[in-house]
Subunit: 259 residues, 2 copies
């Protein structure tokens, strides 16, 4: 019997939007999540610190199960590694930036793309490099939106404060922009407010982009039978278990929840 | 020649409002600051995590100089220790909660006091216990305001988003309230917006309360001569050095800045 184990690392709870998409797209795989809630957020921290945290989290996952792949479900962390991401392990290591960048290039008509993310993700230039990698002509408008994560963490997505913050950060969005990359795994939770503010925009969300990528790489073989799946969620600080998003995922999936 | 060394610990840069007040009130003392910017913010983390971080930071300070006292310039951290705070070291350990609570009881006429702070500080009930300790009759209205720290960290104190956030959190402030405790070391940076929203209110700020306390405990003796003072600032993640508040303090004081 076959069993595929994939680790999912994030700075906190935001990566659960990726985890949720993975559970939906590839239900034959065991997914093991660690959120570094003891040190969240990564967005304002230095690349050196972030790299050492991610390495620690990876060792924690490896101590529990033999991994077939590792997903860094955090844009700030993916950005902090840059080209050295794949060297993190012997097995495949996937970041959230490349799939999001590719999807944006596919869907944009005008090739005027906007990117929103944390300070660290924007400053790294990682999305720009991933977009340039494909050799297409494009224009990129980038904006760090540091208040979005705390607004979401507080459950204020639908509050007028979120609408005001969206207006504040995106006031100078160039008119030709037709595609916006949600360059932070928290941001899909703010999607409906962003859609209301920009009804013509196509939003590219790294959660669904990476889930589609994983589905292709680790597709279910009709010749094989699979062990019944067991997923797990772990946090470095257990206060995260109280969050609405965590509760929601726990109540909808068969999970081993580890404090 | 006499030399007094006092350590100042905080989760990040907020405690610099206390550090700044200490430099002004007790210029004969060497103050050594560590901000745990690698793990900021503490406000949403569990008491167990916070206590282990503070213990680590204390050891880092002790490795550098022989301390005469330690100030926990962070409300969330002070709250996480509760009654065990003074057991942290053989020398005096001072938190920011008791001085703030005492000052509020002194200045309030109506004894209707409001407390604003992080989720962790409010949840701990530490201010309520500190107020009750004095046996006075009082009414306390408490409100966690998790967006204030990120708004301040982003330099948006004067932006309409801060005004909206103040309105959001303090909409139900009881009418008789005449004194508000700023139960987070970041909040003094939002003082002028709070004063505009509540012009009749007396704001109690733990920075000045604790600086006055230290000045009394370690008063300069006219019989002694003091070595020329050396202060230091250290952060567990060096990205904090770019912050406006840090730059401002560094440019105004003789400091050893340690990355």
């Amino acid at each position: 019997m076959q069993s595929i184990n994939i680790g999912v690392l994030d700075s906190g709870i935001g990566g659960l939007t990726v985890f949720r998409a993975l559970l939906a797209e590839a239900p034959h795989i065991n997914f093991h999540y660690i959120g570094d809630t003891a040190r969240v957020p990564y967005g304002s921290k230095s690349p050196e610190s972030i790299r050492s945290y991610i390495t620690e989290l990876k060792l924690m996952l490896e101590a529990r199960s033999q991994l077939d792949a590792l997903i860094i479900a955090c844009n700030s962390a993916t950005a902090a590694f840059g080209d050295t991401l794949t060297q993190l392990a012997q097995y495949p290591v996937l970041g959230v930036i490349r799939p999001g960048a590719e999807r944006a290039l596919q869907v944009s008509q005008s090739k005027n793309i906007a990117l929103i993310g944390t300070t660290q993700t924007i400053r790294s230039g990682a999305y720009r490099r991933a977009l340039e990698h494909h050799g297409y002509e494009f224009k990129l408008w980038e904006k760090a939106c540091p208040l979005f994560v705390p607004l979401i963490e507080e459950g204020l997505e639908s509050h007028s404060l979120s609408t005001s913050a969206i207006r504040h950060y995106l006031a100078e969005l160039p008119e030709l922009t037709d595609t916006m990359i949600l360059g932070c795994t928290h941001y899909p939770l703010l999607l409906s407010q962003l859609q209301q503010a920009f009804p013509q925009m196509t939003f590219v969300d790294s959660a669904s982009a990476i889930a589609a990528d994983v589905k292709t790489r680790f597709s279910k073989s009709p010749q094989k039978t699979y062990k019944s799946v067991r997923h797990s969620i772990h946090f470095t600080d257990k206060a995260a278990f109280e969050h609405r998003l965590v509760q929601n995922i726990i109540s909808n999936h068969p999970l081993d929840v580890i404090e």
